[in-house]
Symmetry: C2
Subunit: 348 residues, 2 copies
């Protein structure tokens, strides 16, 4: 590897000058020497030794990204959003996946500190423990998470309330008045947030909600199936079912079809998450897409901001989602071209 020393030698200047030019400091260097150094550096293919630089400056151009569950559908998208912004600014990311159960969670932060990362991003389904946050000794950090239960000024989270009201309002606009709800796992704060948003929106519109119309589910397809069956068995059949996520919605869809009913003609169904399921099911399911990529980008921007200003006071940010209109509730469809129709259209 070619060092700064060689560049200095060839250019006939001291290493100090080379450093000043190449790390574009604002130290005054004449145009001539600057141009010459740049030329030489380019010719010999000089690339600064990051370790040495890091040792000296205590900055590494490395950002630690700590994940809870890299296998989830969201995480990789968020990470790409983060990287999209950071790479352009010359930062690289150290992505570490630590399952929630593992004891070594604190060690990971320590490890990353050893690599002297400049900042941290936590992408987690649960709120990062205080203990770990304390180990950061004032380095910038941001938390991107879906299912928080404790507010933190450095958080970037989806606006569950807004999103949930989005789908309910959509149904109301389509003329539905009897809307049932399948809730997610009660342990999750987001479950109650979404449920509350549903209730509030219904009440605000002046519609009541029957007891039999609310079923407590568990985020998965089988649970959606069971919950829908219970709802279908209630005294008064609803005309629409809101599911707390797409898995539940898909389960509900299967139950409704198995009951000999038609979707959306007899019962409309909406989901939440914009999973692949909702895109592929038959009929496709209207849902809410979370702007995960954007959330990653915002997290990164936020971090860059903190890195520049050394101002660590950031307000929690709620990010709104977007309604994805598909076939499952009979509305005229959105811009997206759906697999099934597309096939039929092009197959002619």
């Amino acid at each position: 590897m070619v060092t700064i020393k060689e560049v200095a030698h060839i250019a006939g200047v001291s290493i100090a000058t080379v450093s000043r030019v190449l790390s574009n400091s604002d130290y005054p260097v004449s145009q001539r020497t600057r141009a010459n150094i740049l030329k030489v550096a380019g010719e010999v293919g000089y690339s600064p030794n990051r370790a040495a630089r890091s040792l000296r400056t205590e900055r590494s151009s490395l950002i630690g990204v700590i994940l809870d569950n890299f296998s989830s559908l969201w995480a990789p998208v968020i990470v790409r959003g983060i990287q999209d912004v950071l790479h352009k600014k010359g930062y690289l990311t150290l992505v570490v996946n630590i399952p929630w159960e593992e004891h070594s969670r604190a060690d990971v932060v320590k490890d990353l500190m050893g690599h002297s990362v400049d900042a941290f991003v936590f992408v987690e389904t649960w709120h990062p423990v205080r203990e770990r946050l304390d180990m950061l000794n004032n380095k910038p950090y941001v938390i991107v998470h879906r299912l928080f239960h404790e507010s933190d000024p450095h958080s970037i989270i989806p606006d569950e309330t807004y999103n949930s009201s989005l789908v309910v309002k959509h149904l109301l606009e389509l003329g539905h008045e009897k809307v049932a709800y399948i809730a997610g796992d009660a342990n999750y704060f987001s479950s109650s947030q979404r449920l509350d948003a549903y209730l509030d929106t219904m009440h605000a519109a002046g519609f009541g909600v029957r007891d039999g119309w609310i079923a407590q589910g568990e985020w998965c397809i089988p649970s959606g199936y069971q919950c829908a069956q219970r709802i279908l068995a209630s005294d008064e059949m609803p005309s629409a079912i809101v599911a707390a996520n797409d898995e539940l919605a898909y389960g509900a869809l299967l139950a409704v079809l198995d009951a000999g009913l038609k979707v959306p003609d007899d019962i409309a169904i909406v989901g939440y998450d914009n999973n692949d399921i909702s895109r592929i099911s038959n009929p496709t399911i209207t849902t809410v897409s979370l702007p995960l990529f954007l959330m990653g980008q915002i997290a990164a921007e936020n971090l860059l901001c903190q890195l520049q200003t050394s101002d660590r006071d950031y307000a929690e940010q709620l990010i709104p989602g977007e309604l994805i209109v598909r076939q499952s509730c009979g509305a005229p469809e959105g811009v997206e071209v759906y697999a099934r129709d597309f096939q039929r259209a092009t197959a002619e």
Copy 2:
């Protein structure tokens, strides 16, 4: 940050001794001092400065992972496999996603070289260009990829031929003799590999293949739909369709259902990839799962091996997949519990 100096001071020894103990070199250090140093280091929470170490040793404990398309379903799984092995050995990964079109691909390698990564993993859909491989100046590297068209000794790739014959044999065992095939995009080497494997397996079993039974598709659902329609229109109807991937299989499934036929009763369908689609469709689709996590692990092991022995000669490795038996071809199902049945079972 607490440095080696402080540890040495507190333990009452020289920094050399501390270094020897903490970087567990095989230099002789008495049990007493060793234990003492370890104790002190633990108490003060010492964690070595990687930049300094890296500067001195020219090793960084960092592995560069270069991705083609992080958004794909495979990439994150492979990455997790890689990390699973590497993290345990104290390595961290620098994951960089560079879309194929971008001009800065070569820069990425240079960038990572600047961070003095110890080795490279390329996770790519296309073969990494020679040019980039040359920039590695003899650092260990491994290529994990799906769709190669040029052999490389450092490659870890799925055994397309074996996998493809797996599904065909499965159908033959179930008594099918008239088996049609929907191929993937002809640009991909894997398309022809899979197609050839199908043809070979059929011929080896003594069964002929009609012209109308082979359709050239394009990896996506609509294409599967069209291809299946063409196959259904052939003079002699096949009793089974092999699709080159799950998207095509799903498209074919929809076409067959739309034609008023039953799956698997009238026509059996198999896919390839074990996508979410095949798990969720109705009926669920028998397919081949690629051991992506394992491939990542193998890649990492391979790398560790190279790092230790400085032996850079590694043979290309073909990794066999696994048949996932589901509903779409009428066989008794495998161990997996399928969403739909599970719902029915637990819904009682």
